[in-house]
């Protein structure tokens, strides 16, 4: 017998005795969810998000401020690009990294700097030396201020975490209300063949491991900028 069979055998044996459903002994009001599956109504329990675009943008902005994400909204891709150029000058970027996408790449190219592309195999040491990683995303989540990326939408696994600054370029239409809608999107978009990496990025890299004091840039990016148009 393999270990797999042994473990599964022990589990089956253990499960011949049934366990009480949770919340039935000591809590009076048990809100029961349909067939044990929560998420149909998770939107009703999670923090409230408005329905209108304006209110969702406000929620995303409030979360960003709290998380120390630099979030900016533009009325055109040109305005966004000129902001990117301004940041590039202010931080004197020398080396940048990006991936082929019709939002990220043109913006990156407008900076006139050498670009390391990570959509095909690349040199990790070179990526580590880049000042910024410019990526696209799958969605922005208003409820939590998160940026949803995958290895397919954001140039692989490392581009959005290795360089010290991560810039996300997004369209307004990509803003979603809450986490359940983000998972619904993933399912719709990828269910037949998921990317091997999916991540909800919420703020720049952070730690509170020293006296519970917040420090940004623990291992990943010290800065997260979300430019949306």
């Amino acid at each position: 017998m393999t270990e797999r069979e042994k473990i599964l055998g022990r589990i089956r044996e253990a499960l011949t005795l049934s366990a009480p459903m949770p919340g039935k002994h000591h809590s009076p009001a048990a809100h029961s969810s349909v067939n044990g599956h929560a998420v149909a109504s998770a939107s009703d329990w999670l923090p409230l998000v408005g329905e209108a675009f304006e209110s969702q943008i406000t929620t995303f902005r409030t979360c960003s401020t709290e998380l120390k994400t630099d979030f900016q909204l533009f009325d055109s891709h040109e305005h966004l690009t000129s902001k990117l150029q301004e940041i590039s000058r202010a931080e004197s970027w020398q080396q940048i990294a990006s991936h082929g996408g019709n939002l990220a790449l043109p913006a990156a190219e407008s900076l006139g700097l050498p670009i390391l592309r990570t959509d095909s195999p690349y040199d990790v040491v070179a990526l580590e030396k880049c000042d910024v990683g410019i990526t696209e995303c799958d969605a922005l989540v208003a409820q939590t201020g998160s940026v949803l990326v995958t290895s397919r939408s954001a140039g692989g696994r490392a581009l959005s975490v290795l360089p010290p600054h991560h810039v996300v370029i997004a369209r307004r239409e990509q803003l979603l209300a809450d986490l359940p809608s983000a998972f619904a999107l993933l399912q719709k978009k990828y269910a037949s063949n998921y990317p091997s990496f999916i991540s909800f990025i919420t703020g720049p890299s952070r730690t509170g491991d020293i006296e519970r004091i917040l420090v940004l840039g623990a291992h990943g990016p010290k800065k997260l900028t979300v430019l949306c148009f």
Partner: protein
Amino acid sequence: MSAASQFKEEAHEITRDLRHRQLIQTALGKYEIKRDEKKAAFQDWQAARQAAAETKWDAINHLDTYLQEFATKLEARGTKVHWASTAPQARDIILNIIREKKARTIVKSKAMTAEEIHLNDALEKSGFEVVESDLGEFIVQLRHEPPYHIVFPAMHLTRGDISELFARELGSAPTDSPEELTMIARRALRNKYVTADVGITGANFAIAETGMISITENEGNARLTAALPKTMISLLGIEKVLPKMEDLALFLPMLATAGAGQTITGYNSLYGGPRQPGESDGPDEFHVVLLDNRRTELLADAEQRDALHCIRCGACLNVCPIFRNVGGHTYGTTYSGPIGSVITPHLRGLQDWKHLSSASSLCGACTEACPVKIDLHHHLLHNRRNSATEKPNRLEKLGLKLFAFVVNHPAFYSLAKKMGRLMQPLHALVKGTRIDPAYGWTQSRDLPTMPRQSFKDWWRTRP
């Protein structure tokens, strides 16, 4: 020394350590404020808890089906899934992969299961260099200590302690800025990611539906560990399963809120395989090691099975008056606090670890805090009952029999009362000393003076 006497001795010492107490109170005080704020943002926290508990119930009570689905889905996309019944088996599986890869350096992100099987020791003894990449874990690794808390490993240290440690171990200049200290660690670790051959991670959830593991972290170290080395190994307990990916919509914010007072943790990442065709980076090989290590024994205890619903958020530790006084190391276990006291007897033997179930005020704060509604404080009582049934304490039984006899016989009872009243003044002579028969009780407590007239006497003589 037995685990019980060691616990007693260390608890006795540390509860008098005012510096420790202050450090923990300040850290947890900050946590409480944020947690309350984030909990209040939920439209219905109690309904969310109930739904989370039911989802975990479904997962654990159909564990065989979900685990197979999880493994099959992972394997279909090129992941190698390993099954380990015991800790030595899990260590061997991991060591073999590493040997086969002829690896030299290994980066590791935080994994309590790795602590549970003492993975670092095993790797180091076999001559491999393992670097903990989570800042807190990196700090306690440099101190050759186990993590103090399952979520905040270095919570017991001040910036001064850490500065001294870094100066001694890394040769850095002393500083009292948490920011600079973090940057020292960042610099020390950056190079390791780029050069490491193998990355080891844990997992917070295992999604059956899609065959993915989910890792929650704030620092990005797990993401780097899963992106750069050529081989990735993830070690997880078999209880980590969730049926559907969309369940995370509830579990990710609940884990963050209950555990750290965040709306959602900085990075919540899903990994469904090694680098896939058309992808530019990620490991060539992805190994998932599923660990039993007596979890199936806990599963067989239907009464306490819900302890396997635990998502290791740490909330029950944070609110526990015992944890807050004795701290994490005193437990001498991988999992401390209420959940540790409940499961350690199952994982490591009831008679050796039953004392933890008595280290409780039974206030129920843990049960109240638990996002998946595990009946923690009742399970502490269940453990006490089980240990007494398994190995009765004869002296205690005799004492209770005697007591029952006395209270059931009015003549003896009133005699005992009279004796008590007469003898009590003499108690002052021995009170709190070793010859005091009630020493365990009276060393830190006063017995109220027995009244001249009992209620019964008063009732009889009332006008």
